[in-house]
């Protein structure tokens, strides 16, 4: 069998295994709940019958492994369960399907993350490459200092500073990114400008520093010195000699930061009241709506694992040395 293929398959298998264990951890979280939570959900006045029916609906009368496989089965079919909110003591059930809550918001979050990635990735690669090219110059030092500062500041600080200058003092962009399904694309882009800008500032810093470090690491290797000795120009060395070998680390960096975006999105969505999945999760945590929290956690974890998997696979495909494992 082709060694590339087998390495990729091995990595895929590992990724799927991780996903399963993670889903088991997320699932078992519901059984760690204190025993009286049906009362907390249904209210103090809940009758015995309502509580029993509720427990039956959650399947708490069945053993945990059976419940887990039923849960995984229904998740794979796109059924994420029913939200805890909207229930009351008399057994009346106005709760909504978790899927209906999550799906529209998931698209919004993916839209925001996509816009950010489209701006941030090329910008970070450009800054990282040029900083490596002109390293130890004033340009390099300024870019470095600026990125170190944005790395050490919390996302909401960056967000509020942007709001202060771009929405409050000089109202260029709206400070609330409230969009719905009917918002047109142009309007949407205008409204997500500030959240996307915040996320860009946060992840460009990471990506740029790691790109720069990856390139500079390579520049120390003997074959680059050889190229230099034979008289290749600086930009030729970076673009023709260093970059092909740097794709694997750079792909890792990009995927790692897109994964980081998944987390950063939570705080930024709350700041800008953006109707995304991160805000949904925070609201659900506050009201302890466990099925929604589980669904969101599962989606975030799956995205995170998939992105890291993609990075590894790109690393395997682009790096010839990994094709011949010893």
């Amino acid at each position: 069998m082709n060694p590339v293929l087998s390495t990729i398959l091995k990595r895929l298998g590992l990724g799927i295994a991780t996903l399963f264990v993670v889903s088991a951890i997320i699932f078992s979280s519901i059984s760690m709940l204190p025993g009286d939570f049906s009362e907390a959900v249904l209210g103090q006045a809940a009758t015995k019958d309502t509580v029993a029916a509720f427990r039956k609906e959650l399947g708490l009368d069945k053993p945990a492994p059976v419940r887990y496989f039923e849960w995984v089965g229904s998740v794979l079919q796109g059924d994420l369960g029913t939200s805890f909110s909207g229930r009351n003591a008399s057994g009346q059930d106005r709760s909504r399907q978790v899927v209906d809550l999550v799906m529209p918001r998931l698209w919004n979050t993916l839209f925001l993350a996509g816009v950010t990635a489209l701006i941030a990735v090329p910008l970070a690669l450009f800054l990282g490459l040029t900083a490596a090219l002109y390293r130890n110059t004033a340009y390099d030092r300024i870019v470095n200092a600026a990125t170190l500062t944005t790395i050490s500041t919390p996302e909401f600080f960056v967000a509020y500073i942007l709001i202060l200058f771009l929405a409050s003092l000089w109202p260029v962009f709206p400070s609330l990114a409230n969009i719905d399904a009917s918002t047109a694309l142009g309007e949407r882009l205008y409204r997500v400008a500030l959240p996307a800008l915040t996320l860009t500032l946060v992840i460009v810093a990471h990506m740029m520093r790691m790109t720069r470090a990856a390139i500079i690491n390579l520049l120390a290797s003997p074959y680059i010195e050889m190229a230099r000795l034979k008289g290749a120009s600086q930009s030729e060395i970076i673009l023709k000699h260093a970059l092909p070998n740097a794709w694997a680390p750079i792909a890792t960096v990009i995927a790692f930061n897109l994964a980081y975006l998944v987390v950063g999105v939570v705080v930024v969505e709350v700041v800008f009241v953006y109707p995304g999945i991160g805000q949904l999760m925070v609201d659900a945590v506050t009201s302890r709506d466990i099925p929604v929290v589980q669904a969101c956690a599962l989606i975030f974890a799956a995205t995170y694992i998939l992105l890291n998997l993609t990075a590894d696979i790109i690393g395997i495909v682009t790096n010839p040395r990994l094709l011949h494992p010893r």
């Binding site: 709001i163 520093r209 945590v285 974890a301």
Partner: protein, 304 residues
């Protein structure tokens, strides 16, 4: 006129050169060599610690004392104004230093006890225990820690104890990785082998043979982890699921006063109020990073 006999004593010469410095002198010399950025970091951290310790003395009002005017502007009475229910912002900032830093420090120490301890055991043991722990950590690290923390907080509720426990356990995975990877190199050394043959117990080998040799990277990591934990707690509090009121905390202060930013055109000081706690968080993180940078350069010459 007494003649000095020309004698030579090796001990005298060695003694003359090797003037033993006291610990204080050595620390003084070390500090003298610190670059300005490290100095800046150390002064900031020292100030924060002083404020945190003497919060009761410095703060003009009580931590949860409510004044009649909510959102009061900056004045002599309330230097940074009051918040949404009329608590003095400066007072909350000062107490926030104590609460936020105290909780972050407790969490970091706990995560180092768990992660460092297990990492050392895994590095010495290298058996199924090492495998089991390492795979378990791999899985935990496959979930973004903020998401995991949110999920666990929704289950255990947002008390300070559960906050410390949850973040410490999640963070200990990183500490475990680092401790294990540096300790593995030391654990194969001859003197560790000798200690094992001597019949020393696991505790002795961990504390006396390995730990002193892996201290520098661990200390640097402690600083970075502290920053990370600090930012995580601030983010959680900002989201409203971390430290709960009436306990003063910087993250939730930002959120509570955020609406003031829209009045920037009429009163710039009002708009700055919610940014003060955020700036306090950022300043501390930058300061600790500066110190860690200098420390890393000092101990190993390795950077980035």
């Amino acid at each position: 006129m007494s003649e000095q006999p020309e004698t030579y004593a090796a001990t005298a010469e060695v003694g003359a050169v090797r003037k033993r410095r006291t610990r204080l002198e050595r620390i003084g010399l070390l500090l003298k060599s610190a670059p300005p950025s490290a100095w800046f970091g150390m002064i900031v951290v020292a100030l924060y610690i002083l404020v945190a310790i003497f919060a009761d003395v410095i703060a003009p009002y009580g931590e949860a004392q409510i004044h009649p005017v909510p959102f009061a502007p900056w004045s002599d009475e309330f230097i940074f104004g009051t918040d949404q229910i009329g608590r003095d912002v400066l007072t909350r900032l000062i107490y926030g230093a104590r609460n936020t830093m105290g909780i972050a420090l407790a969490t970091t120490i706990l995560s180092f006890l768990i992660g460092g301890g297990l990492g050392l055991v895994a590095a010495i043991n290298r058996s199924w225990l090492d495998q089991a722990l390492s795979r378990f950590v791999d899985v935990l690290m496959a979930i973004p820690s903020l998401i995991f923390a949110l999920m666990l907080l929704s289950i255990f509720g947002s008390t300070i104890t559960s906050l410390i426990m949850i973040i410490a356990v999640l963070d200990s995975t990183r500490v475990f990785r680092l401790t294990r990877s540096v300790a593995v190199n030391v654990a194969v050394m001859d003197y560790v082998e000798a200690a094992k043959l001597r019949g020393e117990g696991l505790g002795w080998i961990m504390r006396r043979e390995i730990l002193p040799n892996i201290m520098p990277p661990l200390v640097a990591e402690f600083g970075l982890r502290f920053c990370f934990v600090f930012l995580t707690i601030a983010a959680l509090s900002f989201l409203g699921v971390g430290i709960q009121p009436p306990t003063a905390d910087w993250g939730s202060m930002v959120r509570a006063n955020a609406s003031l930013i829209q009045f920037a055109k009429y009163d710039i000081t009002a708009a700055i109020t919610p940014l003060l706690p955020a700036a306090a968080i950022a300043l501390l993180t930058v300061a600790v990073n500066f110190i860690v940078d200098w420390f890393l350069q000092k101990t190993s010459g390795l950077r980035e």
